[in-house]
């Protein structure tokens, strides 16, 4: 049994290729069904974000599994061939696969380290796998752990505290002026890509209202729909300014769209309530002289980049701490997976029973005092008989069920019933789940919600 991952990301493949492999949520059921139809694949999860496409699977044999996953990815899009895809793929198995997933959900593998979206995307991928019953005992445990590692990295390091991208930096800076963005009104001037992105980030923060204006009113109208905002005629830009707290300017016009006079008037009408302006375009659309207006704070693209750059160093330092945290968690996860072998579990179970038996015998001998050797061996025999008879059932079941579809569930259950910890099982240093010959017959899989 192996845990494997096959995938490509922003480092290994172009966005065009990644797009071809993207699977819509609505078609995920069909895709996961296709995955599970491969005979060696026991569990599977598809993780697709704008920067990566990865398939995680629990397979009977690693080598076979990789080939099956390759086949799956190639058949995702009709125009793809194995030759196109192979050079861009990376493969990890077992310890490395677990470590990779943990790093992904801790946002250490992201294009912008520390960005907050990926954790949510891992959660969604997992939910889809649960819904379509493609995850089982192992993926449930591993992915849940990955999510909790991601969360704990987020809360215990400052990795996510720093601005993630230029547009995110805009939000960070806005928060230096306004503590609560929920009561703020945003005006988006123009329809530039960066402007839309910054507006999107602000909308995600839950601003009160979004106003959109554009020379082309139809476009403003379209954008207003997208942001659930309101389109304002371009001629009313000046009269609208006093109403807005945050202005994002991204028009692509070669001249100033907002002048110092405009802002002076606006701040005057606002009775000195502060304004926050972001100019994302080059050449600039907001007169830089606006910075001399009291209570108006204007930032251009260079300022935002400086803000991001400043944070980048801090983030790298935090990333190191996060890497350590991930490494520690991977260790205990690997130990757990190793323990899912039937043999070490049985060994641990016997060892535990033996320890209990010996302990109890010593106690009883201590209390009884002098005993003849016959008496002693009678008592010892009794204890051994009880232990062996009690263990007989579980051991036989473990041995027989280990090969079945729900084998891991039985082993995990045994470990919980008898309170066998990973370390006890792991102490045998057994190589990670070498080979489990399943019968290949797929039965209906139970949704393994709590890992049992």
């Amino acid at each position: 049994m192996n845990i494997i991952v096959l995938g490509l990301n922003h480092r290994t493949a172009s966005v065009e290729l990644r797009e071809l492999l993207a699977i819509q949520d609505s078609r995920m059921g069909e895709a996961l069904g296709r995955l599970m139809a491969y005979s060696g694949i026991k569990e599977a999860m598809y993780l697709g974000t704008c920067n990566r496409v990865e398939v995680y699977a629990v397979v009977e044999k690693g080598e076979w599994g990789f080939r099956q996953l390759e086949d799956f990815l190639v058949s995702t899009h009709f125009s793809l061939s194995t030759e196109d895809l192979l050079p861009h793929l990376y493969r990890y198995s077992d310890d490395e696969a677990i470590a990779h997933l943990f790093r992904v959900s801790a946002s250490l593998d992201s294009m912008v380290v520390g960005e907050p979206q990926v954790l949510g995307q891992v959660k969604e991928a997992y939910d889809l796998a649960l819904t379509h019953r493609s995850s089982g005992v192992i993926l449930n445990k591993v992915v849940k752990k990955a999510i909790s590692v991601g969360k704990s990295v987020r809360t215990n390091t400052r990795i996510g505290e720093y601005a993630v991208s230029v547009s995110y930096a805009a939000v960070e800076l806005a928060k230096k002026v306004f503590s609560n963005l929920k009561q703020r009104v945003v005006l988006l001037v123009g329809a530039g890509e960066m402007g839309k992105l910054a507006a999107q980030h602000l909308v995600n923060q839950g601003v009160k209202e979004v106003l959109i204006t554009n020379r082309n009113h139809h476009r403003a109208f379209m954008l207003a729909e997208r942001f659930h905002g309101q389109a304002v005629p371009y001629e009313q830009l000046r009269s609208t300014l006093p109403k807005v707290d945050i202005v994002i300017c991204a028009t692509g016009a070669p001249h100033y769209v907002i002048t110092k006079d405009d802002i002076e008037m606006a701040v005057y009408h606002r009775m000195n309530r502060p304004m926050f302006l972001i100019d994302i375009t080059v050449p600039r659309n907001i007169d830089p002289a606006v910075k001399d207006v009291d209570n108006a704070y204007v930032f251009d693209i260079d300022d935002l980049k400086a803000h991001v750059g400043h944070n980048q160093e801090e983030r790298l330092k935090e990333a190191e701490t996060a890497e350590h945290m991930v490494k520690e968690e991977v260790g205990s996860m690997v130990a757990w997976v190793r323990g899912l072998e039937a043999t070490p579990t049985i060994v641990a179970l016997r060892k535990k029973a033996e320890e209990i038996k010996q302990g109890e015998l010593e106690k009883v001998f201590g209390r009884l005092g002098e005993l003849s050797s016959k008496e002693r061996s009678a008592i010892e025999g009794l204890a051994s008989a009880i232990v062996n008879k009690l263990l007989h059932g579980p051991v036989v079941t473990l041995k027989s069920e280990a090969q079945s579809q729900n084998g891991f569930a039985f082993i995990e259950a045994a470990r919980r019933f008898f309170e066998l910890r990973e370390r006890e099982i792991h102490s045998g240093e057994i190589p990670l789940l070498e080979d489990e010959t399943g019968d290949g017959v797929r039965e209906e899989r139970l949704p393994q919600k709590d890992g049992v």
Partner: protein, 269 residues
Amino acid sequence: MPELLSYLTMGLYFGGTLLFLLYLWHRSDVISKISLVTTGLGFISHTSGLIMAMVSMGHVPIMTFKDAMSFFAWGLVLVFLVVAMKRGLEVLGAFILPLAFLSLVSATLAPQSADTLAPVFQTVWVHVTLSILGTIGFAVAFVAGLMYVMQERLLKSKQFNVLSFKLPPLDFLDSLNQRSILFGFPLLTLGILTGAVSAQLTIGSYLSWNSEQIWALITWFFYFAVLMGRVTAGWRAKKAAYLTIVGFAGVILTFVGILIKSPQPMSPL
């Protein structure tokens, strides 16, 4: 024992001051925790000192300049601890603790009046307490103004450093400023009224036009104007921050005025 406690308090506040100033420039949350604990210990020792004095005197010790300053510092630290716990605004400590520490120092440096002003009339006692509480409001407004000006400068000059990271957002500071004045102003008003009543009772005249009273009235009009200006003329944000800094300078001058003019025990306003 009270002596020892007052030195202990002063030492702890000094430690808190240094630690909070250090915290301002370092990205470590550990420092803020240590500073908070130090300040908390200082506050406990301060409170114990006050309680002991209260027990021996039978009333809150505010009748000498020294006691009044000590009570003022105590109130300030209390406000800080509450805000720090409730809002997680440890950074406030870097501004309030130095103020509290300096108040205690100035209290010890002030000429020690031999005897306390006997609180013959309850009104004197009420007058002093209200005035001190009002002053605490203005002190917090001053600190908010100071932080506002710093954050404003950092934003305008586009310096994104540790300090700008730690200072709260501008609108929060502006509203803290406003709320503190709204807290301090009515108390000062009542303080002045009860002061006038006590003056009437003790020397038979509501107003004797001494420097302390004149400054108190100027202060009152000033903060009244600041409050009115916010509503009518848009004196908010940067302007309000500068005004409250100037206003508090006036309050400090009143203190100094009291100290220089009359070594006798007096109210701070």
